[in-house]
Amino acid sequence: MTTPTLPTPPTPSVPPAPTAPSLRGPRGTWTPAQIALTLVAAALSLVWLAPLAWALSTSLKTPTESVTSPHWIPQDLTLESWKAVIEAGNIPNWFVNSVVVSVCVTFIVLAVASLAAYGFARTEFRGRSALMALTMAGLMFSPAILGVPLFTTVQSLGMVDTYWGMILPQCAPAAMVYILYKFFQSLPKELEEAAFIDGAGRWRIFFTIVLPLSKPSLSAVGIFTFIASWNNFLWPYMVTNNPDLMTMPNGIATVQNAFGIVWPQLMAGGLLAGLPLIVVFVFFQSQIVRGVAHTGLAGQ
């Protein structure tokens, strides 16, 4: 991040610094060690991209070509499968459901978790430490563990096969509260005290001082909540049977295969499900990278 990736001409006069090139600055960096390291990185990147390339290539083949002898470049390049996936079937529907569910989850989590984290970090109330302990205990429960009882709970609330049934159980993440709690604690108290002396109430302090200062943390939490929710398979799989209500991951795993496997369509559907987040990543790469570091290191 600190080194601009402008193509610099090789200047062999600079002495090599094989393992800590950043000490030397961005100039004259095409040392033999750098060239070797870059080749290794490129090779590994190719290996990591190969499955995606294969999926893309498959999606551009005809169904018969996909199951004849394997090869990378499609002979009759065709968008047939993409068209079939977009026009027929439920995929556009699932896509919309995914958008609705993940956007709702993200906003509810941001609102609820930031309020709770601020409450824990800055306010006093009876039972605060007990509730904090309860929240920490929740870090050990996941939908994978709670699946069956969570389902019966949602069932008794009458929310099976509804949007709310998909959305609300994803909206109480103890981990996000914890991350924001740590962050709010690290903010200097003096700012808030000064605002209080000037007559601001606690809600106003929260909305006009604390939240604007917390943009990096909030965007990290928001981005991760969105990714987790968009990719969530287990919970929507449990709580929906109605194909019209399914989300992308759920639909392509359960329904799309049910009518016989057409590999190009399966790959086109998969790429379509993954595309939005890849696009988001390309545009918000540095925020996401910082977000991972931030959220990860908060758990340290």
Partner: protein
């Protein structure tokens, strides 16, 4: 302010005002419960209630519709201990964890070292290594189901083999491990990359001045500075891997895999709950998984605390 008369006395007026304001500030925040209330409504409904309910159900013979519920005491737990499929599926999840965690840690660290030390195209390596993490687990399952096809799959095409990866017991779990490594290593990679970037430069500069070579700098500066992050990566990976479900189940079309060799623990609880409709029994075995996961999490906390105590001694 009615205390103007005292303004001339020490301590100075501003300090007094700030002090009383501070007191009022903390008093006004006595009712901070409103801040946490919305979270706890959701948390209570969708975490606390299911936990309590699950614990209760685990002592009953409840079915999916919730009627005909009878209290059966510890019968479910007793049955679980004698149920071969509980042990088999638990072993599969543990086996998966034992395979995947070390590989992820090593590959993530290697990737981070490579991406950190290359000067050019850092963004490109980051994009390539992290991109698969953004795909939904269901897509991972479908994708690798296709890639591992014996005659038309990419894996055999590239390696020049004709191994039936997904239909023989010896490679079935390996296939899930490979898919999972490809999918999730990017997250740990980013954690390592961030940790590497956090190591202060002056340490390397000082070591270089003292004549340490690249290998010595790596051994005495990089490795010790990555100890904490390695602990974190290990803990996160073990906890996630023990709860493996999505990718395995999609790769094997919701079945148990060849010779039932990839049925994971979570899969078995869901089969009991939603296929056999035995909600009581499913809840009981869920709590067995919870105990294991909690033991790992608490064990890590205990280790961390011990290390802190040692460090402050």
């Amino acid at each position: 302010m009615s205390t103007l008369a005292h303004a001339r006395t020490l301590p100075p007026r501003t300090a007094v005002a700030a002090d009383s304001a501070r007191a009022r500030w903390s008093r006004r925040f006595q009712h901070g419960g409103w801040f946490v209330a919305p979270f706890f409504v959701l948390y209570g409904l969708f975490v606390v209630l299911p936990v309590v309910r699950g614990l209760y159900l685990s002592f009953t013979d409840a079915n999916i519709s919730g009627d005909h519920t009878g209290f059966v005491g510890l019968d479910n737990y007793r049955e679980a201990l004698k149920d071969d499929l509980v042990w088999d599926s638990l072993w599969h999840s543990v086996q998966f964890t034992l395979y995947v965690v070390p590989v992820i840690v090593v590959v993530a660290l290697l990737m981070a070292l490579i991406a950190h030390h290359t000067v050019h195209f850092k963004w490109l390596w980051r994009l390539c290594f992290f991109a698969p993490f953004l795909l939904p687990s269901a897509v991972i399952g479908n994708l690798w189901w296709w890639l591992f096809q014996p005659t038309n799959g990419m894996v055999n095409h590239v390696l020049g083999l004709d191994t039936p990866w997904l239909t023989q017991k010896s490679t079935a779990m390996l296939a899930v491990v490979v898919a999972t490594l490809w999918w999730t290593v990017g997250f740990s990679f980013l954690l390592y990359l961030a940790a590497l970037q956090n190591i202060p430069h002056h340490l390397y500069e000082a070591a270089e001045l003292d004549g340490a070579n690249a290998f010595q700098r790596m051994l005495h500066i990089t490795v010790p500075n990555l100890r904490n992050i390695t602990g974190l990566v290990l803990a996160l990976q073990v906890l996630a891997s023990l709860q493996v479900f999505d990718q395995a189940v999609v790769m094997y079309q919701f079945g148990p895999g060849p010779e039932e060799s990839t049925r994971t623990f979570v899969q078995y609880t869901l089969e009991q709950g939603f296929t056999s409709y035995r909600v009581g029994y499913a809840s009981a075995i869920s709590f067995i998984l919870f105990i294991i996961v909690a033991a790992v999490a608490l064990g890590r906390m205990w280790l961390l605390r011990n290390r802190e105590e040692v460090a402050t001694r």
